[in-house]
Symmetry: C2
Subunit: 166 residues, 2 copies
DNA sequence: TATATTTCCTATGAAAATCATAGTAGCATA
DNA sequence: TATGCTACTATGATTTTCATAGGAAATATA
């Protein structure tokens, strides 16, 4: 994995961002955090990465300031992972990635994986970056997220397969 | 490198997108194409990747339909790389990445790497996704791109260093 | 004619990351 | 005592990446 460079080599913000998020597993972990999976096991099950991949990336994400670890249980000590403000600020990238993926990687008969409703106007938000209904810029905490039944089932199944394999 | 899966494993558009662009070099190559570097050597110089990295990724980007190779010279046969419509459509992701990078990876004394002017309203476009001046969604071909002198110098220097090393 | 130069890559071997698989630590519950 | 739960770590084979060098096919220059 790419160690974070202390002195930035370039002024380019895309290159700097990529030293942190230029990795498939990292982005999938961030997706899971936005999907409100906060536990190691949930993230592992839904990304289908090995535990080392998850562990290494969570550690780096924490070092890079996108993620913080919160203990939700002493004895035995257990942690959950949450996005920091910097991590939350990554949302527009995920949204843009989603829009691109929905547009260019789906056959017509496949529906959207997730349906968004814009809380402030009550209308479907569409693919962004601005709300289809009211034109406002979409923010993560202003969206009601509803996984499509098919996607929900897929996630459910992945979780069960994961559980069964222990 | 990740071979493209014929049957998608998931409905998640982010995961599907990441099988194509979930890689640092790939994103940097796309950035260069948006910066109007179309030649192998320019891309190599500005990304500072090895030629195999570039060659392999350009090949995959072509297979994935984001990039097309155009011969600009017979005898000797020479190619340039250009974005397809699918590749151009990736722009919002780059823009979001840039905004995040500019916001979270810069000290106050460092300026923006690139300045955008919105062609249709003539005002500075800001960090997007919508124009700071007029509120419209930013499109790549509607932006006048002006690298900051410092960033320009950095790129110039990289090119010269590359040339000198041959 | 001979020698550079330009451009786009390919070859090679060492170093690092990744993967599948298995296992550990600490505690709770039956 | 045994079984389960959760968050990881260990190991060894496989794959990818990196640094460095080189090649091929033509034109330009001496």
């Amino acid at each position: 994995m790419n160690e974070n460079n202390v002195t930035p080599q370039t002024l380019c913000p895309v290159a700097r961002a990529e030293t942190v998020v230029g990795d498939r597993w990292t982005v999938l972990i961030l997706r899971e955090l936005f999907m409100r999976s906060h536990r190691f096991e949930e993230i592992q099950a839904q990304t289908e990465a090995t535990p080392q991949m998850i562990a290494a990336r969570l550690k780096k994400l924490e070092a890079d300031g996108l993620v913080e670890r919160r203990s939700y249980n002493k004895r035995p000590l257990r942690y959950e992972y949450h996005l920091t403000e910097k991590g939350e600020a990554f949302y527009p990238v995920v949204l843009a990635l989603r829009a691109w993926g929905e547009t260019w990687f789906k056959s017509p008969e496949e529906g959207r994986a997730v349906h968004y409703t814009h809380r402030s106007c009550g209308k479907p938000a569409g693919l962004g970056p601005v709300c289809e209904g009211c034109g406002q810029t979409l923010r993560h905490d202003d969206l009601i997220v509803e996984p499509d039944p098919a996607y929900q089932a897929e996630r459910q199944e992945r979780w069960e397969a994961f559980k069964a394999s222990r």
